[in-house]
């Protein structure tokens, strides 16, 4: 673990792997809930957690175990699994099937058979980067991005799976679509998929 300053009121914690990111995020959000940490934003990402809007950035690492957190807290896996009903009819389904050495049904079986976890959010409100795919099933981005990917598109890129909450340009491989509402201002929290959540895709009839 390494703490890097990001201006006078923020620290970027660099961690060894995504399990350590998840563990640090859990510990820091718990510290904020308990009142031992005051921070405006705690933002997990692929290998880092940003703690922004803090008065004493040099004190942050004292909130974490020496040497850095390593495993998600036991509380982490206890939240209910969020199920995303998905129609597997994406434009890149055949390309993904070829990359995985299987057919369309094989892609559906692998994708619905994987337990995903929200590693972090970004790109757009409610866009969650989901990890859990076996490294054999990581796929490159499309050679050229699409100018418009519809809301609800289920897609893959690198180690991640994700769902576009709103229409936007995008370079991920599109395998399906859902009518789940990924971002809803009337919900609290407004995002369906929040960091640490467990997610399964379910084939929609």
């Amino acid at each position: 673990m390494r703490a890097r300053r990001a201006g006078p009121t923020a620290v970027l914690l660099e961690l060894d792997d995504d399990n350590a990111v998840s563990a640090a995020y859990d510990l820091l959000t718990a510290a904020r809930t308990e009142g031992t940490l005051s921070a405006a934003d705690i933002v997990p990402a692929a290998r880092t957690v940003l703690i922004d809007g803090v008065t004493d950035p040099d004190r942050i690492t004292a909130l974490l175990p020496a040497g850095g957190p390593s495993a998600p807290s036991p509380a982490a896996g206890s939240s209910p699994t969020i199920k995303i009903p998905t129609w597997y009819d994406g434009e890149d389904l055949d390309d993904v099937a070829r990359l995985w050495g299987t057919d369309r049904a094989g892609v559906v079986a692998i994708h619905t058979g994987t337990t995903f976890r929200v590693a972090f959010c970004g790109f757009a409100p409610g866009f969650a980067y989901l990890t859990g795919l076996d490294p054999r099933h990581h796929v490159p981005r499309r050679p050229s991005p699409r100018t418009r990917v519809p809301a609800g598109t289920v897609a893959l890129a690198g180690p991640y799976s994700g769902v576009y909450p709103t229409p936007s340009p995008g370079g991920w491989q599109c395998v399906g679509r859902t009518d789940a509402r990924l971002f809803d201002l009337d919900s609290d929290p407004p995002a369906l998929l929040t960091p640490g959540a467990t997610v399964r895709f379910v084939e929609a009839a």
Partner: protein, 294 residues
């Protein structure tokens, strides 16, 4: 937003100008869900306008790019104009920015073209009362959250007055700087750059390019060379982060910046200097100085 609220509209937008948005101090606290902070690009100017209008500092006002706006008050209201300097008229009389302006019912208010800087701020006693989204009335130009930009013919509601204008009747504030001197905290990724790139950052003159908006200001000048090749996994970004994309030309992130980014951030502009960047026109020279550690 022709009528976004049940409250009586107070400001009729006769002419909306090139780009006018409702802004308060933004919606921090949702970055972990991918929601940008947003808020006034020159937060100090909005706070001052609110103080002059008798509002709490975080009340919503108008952020007016380059001025050129005409409003009509449907009831008596206290207005205050700050930020980029511009001529102001109430009715047919000239009025001064930086003062509380008592606007009678039915009067037209004209915000002239900004003579320097980029963004004029207008506060109304009671605050612009469009419905908040995730705790903020700010228009976020990156994600589209918050009210859409203001258009000709909009009727803007104003909330109940919470306090009188301050006893001090003028608040002097400096005009936008001709050359920016921005204090910079190195990091978090200064070690991704060569030692000479860090020297270059603090010894060279950059200029604000034409690509400056609420998301960020791209600069042009000597390229900042990387010491580490390869891709940086996306990581959280702070306001004022100086990100250096592949072409080596720095970009300073402003209010509507994305929550995460995948190019290394060589340093962070001190929050006290961010408003200067939000007011800097294309061509403005920029110099960076190390921030004193505190």
């Amino acid at each position: 937003m022709s009528r976004l609220s049940h409250e009586d509209p107070v400001l009729e937008v006769v002419r909306a100008g090139v780009r006018t948005t409702v802004q308060d101090l933004g919606r921090p606290g949702f970055a972990h869900l991918g929601v940008p902070r947003s808020g006034a690009a020159d937060a100090g100017a909005l706070r001052l306008a609110n103080r002059l209008a008798g509002n709490p500092p975080g009340a919503a006002g108008l952020e007016i790019l380059l001025g050129g706006v005409r409003l009509r008050a449907t009831r008596a209201v206290t207005l205050a104009v700050t930020g980029a300097p511009c001529a102001v008229t109430v009715g047919d009389r000239p009025a001064d920015p930086g003062f509380p302006l008592a606007v009678p019912a039915g009067a037209h208010v004209t915000i002239g073209r900004a003579t320097a800087g980029l963004r004029v701020y207008l506060a109304a006693g009671g605050g612009i009362a469009v419905p908040p989204v995730l705790g903020s009335r700010s228009t976020d130009t990156l994600s589209g959250l918050g009210p859409r930009p203001v258009r000709d013919g909009d009727l803007l509601p104003v909330g109940p007055v919470t306090g009188p204008p301050p006893a001090v009747d003028v608040a002097p504030y400096p005009p936008p700087a001709g050359e920016l001197r921005l204090r910079v905290w190195l990091g978090p990724r200064d070690d991704w750059f060569t030692a000479s790139a860090r020297d270059t950052l603090f010894s060279s003159e950059y200029r604000v390019s034409a690509e400056t908006d609420r998301i960020g200001a791209r600069l042009t000048g000597p390229a900042l060379a990387r010491a580490v090749d390869g891709e940086l996994p996306s990581e959280g970004l702070v306001l004022g982060a100086i990100q250096v994309p592949a072409n080596g030309q720095p970009l300073i992130f402003l209010a509507d910046h994305p929550t995460t980014g995948g190019y290394p951030v060589i340093g962070v502009v001190d929050p006290a200097d961010i408003g200067l960047v939000g007011q800097a026109r294309p061509g403005t020279p920029v110099r960076f100085t190390p921030a004193p550690h505190r």
